[in-house]
């Protein structure tokens, strides 16, 4: 019940801002594809494939991450610290756990919407990919991980600036380092160990292997699911136990 309530709220939010949401989801990926796909990567190949084939799954992974995180984290941050409408969620009888799952689903659907836009956008760039239902499920799962992280960041942030700082220190490094723009085989081992643990690395790897026509690595699927679960449990604990929400 609470999950449907949040999905309805997310739909209202989307209807109100669909044009802004759509255009802002396209700008960065479009620039990445022009600069790195057509520009720097025009004559580059990765594992004997055109660089654009390597690049697009990475861009889809980082876009679903960014969109899902922002759709939940930034929105909740405004609702909590500016509108104070988040107070109303705490006061209401809707269980917090259902509210969080609703946010995760709503955020990940927004992420998947952006991912689908990138798929369409990649067609004129000549990217060739095998798209299966599992490809969309991984986009959804990746979105759920970062939407849950968005809830957690939003309830921990003491100011509006904190959520921007969180993006700068957590989301931005993952955008560039997690198997998105370049293969990780030349990265020093000490750094690679850290990168290999991060969720976006698994999302990029999964989407790319499926785009190349290979079977998905189930360990990566499991790791993403575990991340989603841990962030969800943490967000639930913080909201329920925090003395001053």
């Amino acid at each position: 019940m609470g999950i449907v309530t949040v999905l309805w709220e997310k739909w209202v939010e989307f209807k109100y801002e669909w044009f802004k949401i759509t255009t802002s989801a396209l700008i960065s990926p479009l620039l990445y594809m022009i600069a790195l796909g057509w520009g720097l990567g025009a004559t580059t190949t990765v594992t004997d494939r055109p660089y654009i084939d390597f690049l697009v799954p990475g861009i889809i992974a980082l876009t679903t991450m960014n969109t899902s995180f922002s759709a939940v984290g930034l929105s909740l941050n405004v609702q909590r610290l500016f509108e104070h409408s988040f107070d109303h969620i705490i006061i209401s009888p809707t269980p917090i756990s259902q509210y969080i799952v609703g946010q995760m689903l709503g955020g990940s659907l927004r992420g998947m919407y952006s991912g689908c836009l990138i798929l369409l956008l990649s067609i004129p760039f000549g990217a060739t990919m095998h798209i299966s239902p599992m490809f969309f499920l991984v986009m959804l799962l990746n979105g759920m991980v970062f939407a849950a992280l968005g809830v957690l960041a939003a309830v921990l942030a003491a100011t509006h600036s904190d959520i921007s700082r969180f993006s700068t220190f957590v989301i931005l490094p993952m955008t560039f380092l997690c198997n998105t723009f370049f293969p990780l085989d030349r990265i020093p081992t000490a750094i690679k160990v850290i990168i290999d643990v991060l969720p976006l690395t698994h999302a990029s790897g999964l989407l790319r292997s499926m785009a190349y026509g290979s079977a998905p690595n189930l360990w990566s699927v499991l790791i993403l699911a575990l991340y989603a679960l841990v962030f969800m449990v943490l967000a639930n604990a913080v909201i329920n136990r925090r003395k001053n929400i």
Binding site: T5, V12, E13, E83, D87, I91, P93, T94, N244, I245
Partner: protein
């Protein structure tokens, strides 16, 4: 109905005890007021009552059951108008009401019926398709009231409900609150408008520095101070003196040389007397 039992709240960073061992009982169907100067702890207490804040010690009970963030059954009995307009700015009035109904698990058909009545009563029907960000401050307060009443609560908590309302709208809200209270709704209200509390509340608790310093009916509080007041102006400031009878007040007035005015004591006098002195806790 509502029991606040030895509730204290300390903000650790500021080392401030905002609420200090407050215990109150509010009966079912009572209209109860919390009065106090800025920073007295009224809003902190209200936020504890609706689980937005968790107390450092003590507990709140509704119908003898401890209220926590997980008690959906108890939270369903409460509705609140917070001091801030806690509304989604990008929702229309209709959507705000639907959002409320969904959060409180009210069937949409019931919601539509009540929504019509409430928006009509508050004169907001013609604005229903506007987003909240386009409403005036007064309209937002009215919408908060509509939203709070949509869930048909047993307890209505109002934190400065008439802030931003013009005098006519304020009176309109007083009448509505009175009618709702007469139908059995329990109302707990904080307000800066003392005449509002005097007019509406059956009992008031006066809070200062986090503690309850007086708790009684407005009439009894006025009686304790003295129901007849004499204001005298000494050329630089007005000083008020209070007397149990008109005769004693007249005798005093005849003994002074300054200009004076004799009148009935109000709850505001009680409030000012408490704020201006370091009274002991009851």
């Amino acid at each position: 109905m509502i029991d606040i039992i030895h509730v204290s709240k300390t903000y650790p960073k500021q080392q401030v005890k905002a609420v200090d061992d407050v215990s109150l009982h509010i009966d079912s169907g009572e209209f109860f007021g919390l009065l106090g100067p800025n920073g007295a702890g009224k809003t902190t207490l209200i936020r504890i009552l609706v689980t937005l804040l968790l107390p450092t010690s003590g507990e709140v009970q509704i119908n003898n059951q401890v209220l926590t963030r997980k008690r959906a059954d108890l939270k369903k009995k409460l509705s609140i108008i917070t001091q801030e307009n806690s509304l989604r700015y990008d929702m229309t009035l209709d959507q705000v009401m639907e959002w409320q109904a969904r959060l409180y698990h009210i069937p949409l058909a019931v919601m539509r019926e009540r929504r019509e009545e409430l928006l009509d009563f508050c004169g907001l029907t013609e604005h229903r398709k506007k987003t909240v960000r386009k409403l005036s401050g007064g309209m937002k307060r009215k919408l908060m009231l509509c939203r709070a009443l949509l869930t048909d609560p047993e307890i209505l908590i109002l934190d400065e409900p008439t802030i931003g309302l013009d005098p006519a709208s304020r009176r309109q809200m007083w009448d509505l609150l009175r009618r709702l209270n007469e139908k059995g709704l329990t109302v707990l209200m904080t307000t800066h408008y003392i005449e509002e509390a005097q007019s509406l509340c059956q009992r008031v608790a006066l809070i200062n520095k986090g503690k309850v310093v007086r708790l009684d009916t407005p009439a009894e509080l006025i009686s304790q101070l003295g129901p007849v007041a004499v204001d005298e102006f000494d050329g630089s400031q007005t000083r008020s003196s209070f007397f149990p009878t008109k005769e004693e007040a007249l005798a005093y007035a005849e003994s002074i040389t300054n200009k004076f005015n004799m009148r009935s004591t109000t709850l505001e006098d009680v409030f000012l007397d408490i704020v201006g002195s370091g009274l002991e806790v009851v």
